[in-house]
């Protein structure tokens, strides 16, 4: 069973390894001649004012919240799709998912109509 995860593990290893490797590489072979301009976050841009840690707009939170709820639905749809191969429950499965999605579409229509998805 665990062998099945080996590709996932490899991918993880490669992803982390690639990031670490390139950072180390640039650290060792790059030349370092720091000047105040070079050390600023944006070398060629507007001078930063204050800190990066400002209070966010509440809209971001709403979007994240909506994302999370539709994320949950993805989980339900995922297992539904995996189980769909079983011929004996296919018709049921289809009807159940239609009901499930319809109920959630009402929610989608709601957030759309109420402008929760609009950026203002």
């Amino acid at each position: 069973m665990l062998q099945a995860y080996f590709p996932v593990f490899l991918l993880l290893l490669f992803g982390v390894g690639f990031a670490v490797f390139t950072m180390l590489l640039s650290h060792f072979i790059g030349k370092k001649k720091p000047t105040p301009v070079k050390l600023s976050p944006y070398e060629c841009g507007i001078k930063p004012i204050g800190t990066a840690r400002i209070q966010f707009f509440v809209k971001f939170y709403l979007i994240a919240l909506l994302f999370l709820l539709f994320d949950m639905e993805t989980i339900f749809i995922l297992i539904w799709a995996v189980a769909f191969h079983d011929k004996s429950i296919q018709v049921f499965a289809l009807i159940e998912m239609v009901v499930f999605i319809t109920i959630l579409l009402v929610g989608y229509a709601y957030v759309w109509r109420k402008g929760a998805l609009k950026w203002r």
């Binding site: 049921f92 109920i103 009402v106 929610g107 229509a109 709601y110 109509r113």
Partner: protein, 490 residues
Amino acid sequence: MDTQTVFRNLQLVLPEIVLTLTILAIIGYDLFLRRETSHRTGLVALVGLAIMAVFLIRQGTTPPTEAFMQLVRVDAFGRFFKFLFIATTALIVLFSLHSREVRTYKSGEYYAILLTATLGMCFLVSAINFLMFYLAIETVSLSSYVLAGYLKRDRMSSEAALKYLLYGAVASGVMLFGISYLFGITGSFSMAAAIGGISTQKVALVALLFVLVGFAFKMSLAPFHFWVPDVYQGAPTPITAYLAVASKAAGFGALFRFLLPLFPDVEIGQTLQGVIARLDVRPLFWVLAVVTMSVGNLVAIRQRDLKRLLAYSSIAHAGYITMGLAVMNAKALEAMLFYFVAYLFMNLGAFLVAMILINKLGSSLLDDCKGLVSRLPFLAVAMAVFLFSLTGMPPTVGFIAKFNIFYVLIAQGTWWYYSLALIGVGNTVVSLYYYMRIVNAMVLQKADVERPPVSWSPADGLLLLVLVVPTIVLGIYWSPLIRFVTVALQ
């Protein structure tokens, strides 16, 4: 499951399906309404509840069935609570249509969420499987959090929602942890199996305690009552009434359902022979009842805000009802169910008065009630009736309800129960003091400053009458109510 089984099972939850369709209809209708007209969705809610009630009555002839592979049990016991929820919700919708607090906000979402809470409660009292149970309790909780914070420009309301959410999340987490242990011990989510598992392994009592935390939170038993005053004060008044009556009844109903195998002479659902001998939880409820009613009553004395006072009084009433759980037999269950119906009328009535006060005066402080009798005589008289009933004085339904509970205690005939009854009577005396303080302020005291006269609408009077009449009539002629309760236990 084949097609036939599914259809048969779906028929058993037809009332709940009607409720779900109503919720969807409200949300759909609301998309086309503006703020000024959005209260029309309340009428849709009323129609939906009426249709649901019809289906529920038609279901009365079906024998008790365990539907959906032992997830829910459709029986008279569950129907009793469902009727209670429908009645409460319908009254709350009427209150809300009449409430200035609610009317200042867009109310399409309000009614949809209110009905969802009711839907969750209906599943809560019929669940016999922890998976279904937990889903139902979360549906109720999520809806209640939003409803408590519905007045979003009001700081108190937002605070109420946040406090409710934080306490609720902790209670629900502890309960879920307990459920996971019960699952580990028994290998099943069945409630009856859990009771069986606990009775064979004493260690599992810890898991039971964890689960009880979740129940106690919903039922507002001390020491899990800390959220009650702040939430009840901050939430819109109709929602306060809803939480105090329906939410509490749902918590008790689900707990009864869970503990039914421990009632020796009640045969609803699975009975486990001789379990009560091995697993006696009555002392626990003895203590909970004493602590809850004492805390509720003693703290209520010092309150200056009517909503906050009624919050503590509702904690005390949860304590009175819990006295029945300390006895745990069929008679006690009957008395507790009776108490819920009485509690519905008198407590909703008291909160209705608070709501009308807020509508007219903009505050629910006791000081503002002074001399009310000369300005709003009918309101003052109605409040007096509800308070007499809450104290348990004849000839009101509150007296009969309380009498039943005390009778069951005395009938046990041991000093253990005599002392509990004695503490209950002592608490009633304390409650008499603070209830009468309100009557005193309304009738005998003069207003500190001259206040302008307030208008009185027929709708106020009609709503009050709907609750005053049963409170008095059922206190004189209560046998129909007894019949209604005994049907639930068949």
